[in-house]
Amino acid sequence: MLELRGVDIRLGGFRIESLDLALEENEYFVLLGPSGVGKTVLLEIIAGLHQPTAGRILFAGEEITKQPPERRPFAIVYQDYALFPHLSVEANIGFGPKVQRVPGDEIERRCAELLHLLDITSLKQRRVATLSGGEQQRVALARALAIRPRLLLLDEPLSALDGNIRLRLRNELKRIHEGSNAVFLHVTHDKEEAMALGDRIGVMLGQRVHQVARPHELFHNPSDIEVTRFLNMTNVIAVDSVTDNVCRVGGAEIHAAGAVDSTSHIWIKPEEILLSKLPFDSSARNQFRGTVTGWEPVDRLLMVKMHCGKLQLSSLVTQASFDILGVDRGTELFVTFKSSAVHCF
């Protein structure tokens, strides 16, 4: 429905080169990337607020590259809400339909509907300066939805909010998307947010989109080492050389089913690494003796860090396993994992 073809952006300090991106009907697309890679600028380019230096933007098959923002059926929601401080909540929401000459009774109907949808009916007459952050973000969402956009551009919409409110609003975003027939393009640096909301996620690093995939695909099959690093996956190890599905890693040999000559890194998910007090024979091709160097809680599990010679591996275990194994600093344990659990890049 929206397509960017070879879009070049040179604006201020940002430089994005030859960007291709295609959004599908009705999807919730999350653009994930660290701060300062120009995600906001990209949204503003899509909205028509800046011109790309090269490339084309198509909407529903038609070129809109030069169309001014007011003609595009898109709305933007900023991280800092950008509400109009001289207008009431209701007038903020009604602003879009009003300038688009929607009849008064229809504007009222939409306002009432959106106030209800976002649970802010009681704020209707308030001035925006008196609202909390969460309330302001709801108003900003309602204001954007009031023009019935085909594409809603969300620029870090949850980043300025505190934990609880953030979680609630996140769920509501999902719910609102399901109830509308708009495409949501949501920009964030928060991986968890991306996982929770995105039908698809695009990882934007440096000046380009490295990978576009469904959330589970992305986390199980990152396309390259930069994506892997950004997703902060533990147990990413540089490979010295590969022979016959065996990777040499700082003196150790790791069997990796998918290893090829060009494999430069491998990744073993911590939850796929088994810890045991004694060695055992099994179908798993990799087993090393190691010592515990430390641990830290991750969600409700424990990430146990091991030194196996020069190899450093982390394993995710439950509190019960942790107790049974009698883990302590310096405890000797065996780590075991299958060669099919080794992801190769």
Binding site: E70, A82, F84, F95, I147
Partner: protein, 270 residues
Amino acid sequence: MTDRGSARRNIWFELVLNLLGIGLLFFIIVPLAGMLLATSPSDFAQAATDREVLVSIRLTLLCALSATLVAALGGIPLAYLLARKRFPGRSLILAIIDLPIIIPHSAAGIALLTVVGRNSLFGRLFGQGLMGTAAGIAVAMAFVSLPFLINAAREGFSSVPERLERAARTLGASPARTFFTISLPLSWRSILSGMILMWARGISEFGAVIIIAYHPMTTPILIFQRFNDFGLRYARSAAVLLVLISVAIFVLLRYIARPPRPETEGDDCA
């Protein structure tokens, strides 16, 4: 150094700040109060009913007001452009706008002769140009007071986050609509403050005006003429009247353009 020692030094610093600051404040207040107190009620009443004085005050206020209103037509757009656009030569334009503040105002009057004088293009079109006319007075006032309007309006527009305008554009507002529904309502206080300053500065202008028009007489020129021809007492009552009228207008408009009362966060009694 002990805590007590540094606390004592801090007190001294506060004291010096206050003394120097208040001293300067007196420098402004004392002459004005002195002039006011030296004017007897009967002299004042005489000035307040003197037709010549009243006519000059009306002329002064109206010339300065029309100068301000006409200048606002170009000044507000220019201020908006300077606040929003980045283009080569922008800082040169900013410097040019401040020129009328730094050049001597009699020199500004001389410079204006090339535009409104007898031998100027205007002069050839309209016989004697704008010399000795109310329009000429307004031009002189505008020239020297324009920077106040432009700078205040520019700061007003700059303080409106650009994102508000961007959000309005995506919601369907054209650039013009965005200007009139978002940018202008959010900066009108600054613009009005700038207009008040420009008006006040126009009212007080002497140097540039006297080059363009000795007659009809604006009040600053009338005060000067009376001081020269009849002496202090005669000039002072007219001066007091003009000062009082200016201050009254100034206070009233500042009250209208005052910043909004900050509202309390959330409801305490909800």
